[in-house]
């Protein structure tokens, strides 16, 4: 296989004076990871998501998330490269939308007016924003001619208030992906700490923590999370709701992690080096946090990476039902609310564009997590 020949199995790290130095575990992990094509693809996809949604959403989105327009529930204006007459233009353009009344359904629909073309420019001046929250800027990745106020580009259609769905999907991705990360961080904090303490000290602490996790695991996760989500007051400001949803997500799931870490610590604390550290007078806290917990890291990282998509899905499900984060907060779940009814799907199917975005991010995380797991397993080829 030419691929295996291009990237050698083990890279000998040679020090400056040409004496061979032993391979560090993490560089081995890195090399094994690089060989797994799916995992690398997953990582790249996630990188793209992070750049477009989390950090630079304002740049990539042609319109701000609350900007309403006169085009209500308008169909998407896709990029075109070839016009009616067959002329090819390298610069993409979109057609103008014309409002018409559909006689049969007596509702407003938008048709393409193919006589009017709006060319798409890149790095175009648009609504001002603050990049990363503090750098004032007004250039957007793409958009229509700023001098023409009628020129609009709605890559994925608009909703009932005329807001561009593509921009909202990007902004929604910011919230949804963030929640995935934050909640896993809290999840790790609670699970690892309680699991390690429980495993190290044993006795009463262990029994109490284990009983709590048992109680938690008696509940089915999704219904419990939905019930807790319903308890969030609707009147709360969106940032507070954001935090409480994050905490709830972690709260419902930490039991499994705690039990795994406890198992790892139980076997880890019998190791020789722990005995040595104890006889050196190392405090319990030092042993737990500086020795035992790092030893569990390879397992914990894999669990965490595979948990992130589950958290994202749970949050999406919650806001889809109208609990937790609610409009006007933009998250993928609240965007999907538009696609709630059969009527919506049949008349405005572009609401479903959020679905492939969500699916792709979840799949990328799964591929990354699987790749990490294979890379960190010292016994896999």
């Amino acid at each position: 296989m030419s691929e295996a020949a291009a990237i050698p199995d083990v890279v000998p790290v040679v020090s400056k004076d040409k004496k061979k130095v032993s391979q560090n575990y993490w560089s081995l992990v890195w090399w094994k990871f690089r060989r797994n094509r799916l995992a690398v693809i997953g990582a790249i996809i996630l990188l793209i998501y992070y750049i477009t949604c989390i950090f630079f959403a304002e740049f990539f989105a042609p319109y701000p998330k609350e900007l309403e327009s006169d085009y209500l529930e308008a169909r998407p204006t896709y990029f075109q490269f070839r016009d009616e007459a067959g002329n090819f233009s390298l610069r993409p353009f979109v057609y103008r939308l014309e409002e018409k009344i559909d006689v049969a359904t007596r509702s407003r629909v938008y048709e393409y007016d193919k006589t009017v073309k709006y060319p798409i420019y890149f790095f175009v001046k648009g609504e001002p924003y603050k990049l990363l929250g503090f750098i004032p800027a007004d250039r957007h990745f793409f958009g229509t001619d700023p001098a023409n106020p009628d020129a609009k580009v709605f890559l994925m259609g608009t909703d009932k208030l005329g807001r561009d769905q593509f921009s909202r999907i990007l902004y929604g991705g910011r919230i949804s992906l963030f929640i995935g990360l934050f909640s896993v961080a809290v999840f790790l904090f609670i699970g690892v700490t309680l699991g390690a303490i429980s495993g190290y000290y044993g006795g009463a602490t262990d029994i109490i923590v284990m009983r709590i996790t048992e109680l938690l695991s008696a509940f089915p996760q999704e219904p419990l999370f939905l019930a807790l989500g319903a308890a969030v007051p609707v009147a709360w400001p969106s940032t507070r709701v954001f935090f409480i949803v994050t905490i709830l997500l972690a709260l419902v799931q930490w039991g499994g992690l705690a039990r795994q870490v406890r198992g790892l610590v139980l076997s880890g604390r019998e190791e020789q080096y722990v005995l040595a550290a104890q006889s050196f007078g190392a405090s319990d806290r030092r042993i737990i946090f500086n020795h035992l917990i790092p030893a569990t890291m390879s397992h914990v990282i894999v669990i965490a990476t595979l948990k992130i998509p589950q958290m994202i899905l749970l949050e999406t499900a919650l806001s889809f039902l109208g609990l937790g984060l609610v409009p006007p907060t933009v998250s993928w779940g609240t965007l999907l609310q538009n696609a709630n009814t059969v009527r919506a799907i049949s008349f405005a199917p572009w609401y479903l564009f959020a679905v492939p975005f969500i699916l792709l991010s979840i799949m990328a995380y799964n591929m990354l997590g699987d790749g990490l797991r294979d890379a960190m397993d010292p016994y896999s080829k």
């Binding site: 807790l228 007051p233 609990l323 679905v355």
Partner: protein, 328 residues
């Protein structure tokens, strides 16, 4: 054996009590109660006398009492079989759940059958022809299936069915058979509708089951008795199915026990909601949204009850076959 059963049952009962208490507290957490929401609704419709009637309602349902008293009232009736009244529908919870229970069971049975019918042959094929093209394809499909969440799939399938195929896939019956008495035609109508939610539910289940089946089977193949069977000249098919698969299927049965029973209610909450099926799932979600305490609390306790029963049965079967477990 007897003391094992008694210990487990005792433990399950205690768990149920604690769970019912926690569930009730959680459901009561949202500020205000069902009546506030009802008032808002009535006032929106222009009914001005609502706030007067509400106090009367409050007293009737005991909503003005402290939470602990409410819990005690509820639980003492619960054990006698009276699960409380659903505020939303103004009917006993027991009646509402009972109506939908049959359909929930039918749906989860259909999903289960579909899952196993697809997953086991695929898993066996995958293990027997390890690393072949077929195996890679099946693994890839399983991988995708694991990553695709049910309710997103439901939305997409809804779109395809309604817009592309022009079929009515919402609910489990067509208009004609909605309240009709059971007949052969009604059963046929049910079957025509049930394949959509069963398929969606089966997607995730299949993916996981394929991988587990494949892994277990590969482990079993490495064991000595398989080699012995082959050496004695048994046919390949017989070796695979009558001997290896039989061993490999045990972990699956464990999973079946613990997930199938609670899955009746909690199996596919969101899919049921999207497709608007007359099962218990949407009932639960509506109860959460409108703070219908007794309904939501009862469903939650029921799910946990089914989970505990499922675990107990599974453990009993395991203990019966493996004496070491009884000594725990």
């Amino acid at each position: 054996m007897g003391s094992f059963i008694i210990r487990r049952v005792f433990y399950a009962i205690i768990m149920l009590i604690v769970v019912s208490f926690v569930s009730f507290i959680i459901i009561s957490l949202p500020a205000g109660d069902f009546m506030d929401q009802k008032i808002a609704e009535l006032q929106a419709r222009g009914d001005q006398s609502a706030s007067m009637r509400v106090d009367e309602y409050r007293e009737r349902y005991g909503l003005d009492k402290p939470v602990l008293t409410q819990y005690w009232l509820w639980i003492s009736n619960f054990v006698q079989g009276d699960f409380g009244i659903s505020f939303e529908f103004d009917r006993p919870v027991r009646e509402l759940i009972g109506q939908r229970f049959t359909l929930s069971i039918i749906l989860s049975l259909a999903t289960l059958i579909l899952t196993w019918a697809i997953a086991i042959p695929l898993g066996v094929y995958s293990a027997v022809n390890q690393y072949s093209l077929g195996d890679q394809v099946v693994t890839a499909i399983a991988f995708i299936g694991l990553g695709v969440p049910g309710f997103l799939l439901a939305l997409v399938i809804l779109y395809i069915a309604v817009v592309v195929l022009g079929q009515d896939v919402v609910g489990l019956f067509s208009q004609k058979y909605l309240d009709a008495p059971w007949s052969l035609a009604r059963v046929w109508d049910l079957l025509k509708h049930i394949w959509v939610p069963a398929l969606i539910g089966a997607v995730t289940g299949t993916a996981g089951t394929i991988r587990i089946m494949r892994g277990n089977l590969l482990n079993t193949f490495g064991q000595a008795f398989i080699e012995a069977a082959r050496a004695r000249g048994l046919k390949q098919n017989s070796v695979i199915w009558r001997h290896a698969v039989r061993m490999a299927i045990t972990p699956l049965i464990i999973i079946l026990g613990t997930e199938a029973l609670p899955g009746i209610i909690a199996g596919n909450l969101l899919v049921e909601r999207v497709l608007n099926l007359p099962t218990i799932g949407p009932l639960y979600i509506n109860a959460l949204l409108s703070q219908d305490m007794y309904m939501a609390g009862t469903v939650l306790v029921l799910i946990v009850f089914l989970l505990l029963v499922g675990t107990l049965i599974t453990d009993l079967v395991l203990a019966w076959t493996d004496p070491r477990i009884r000594l725990e």
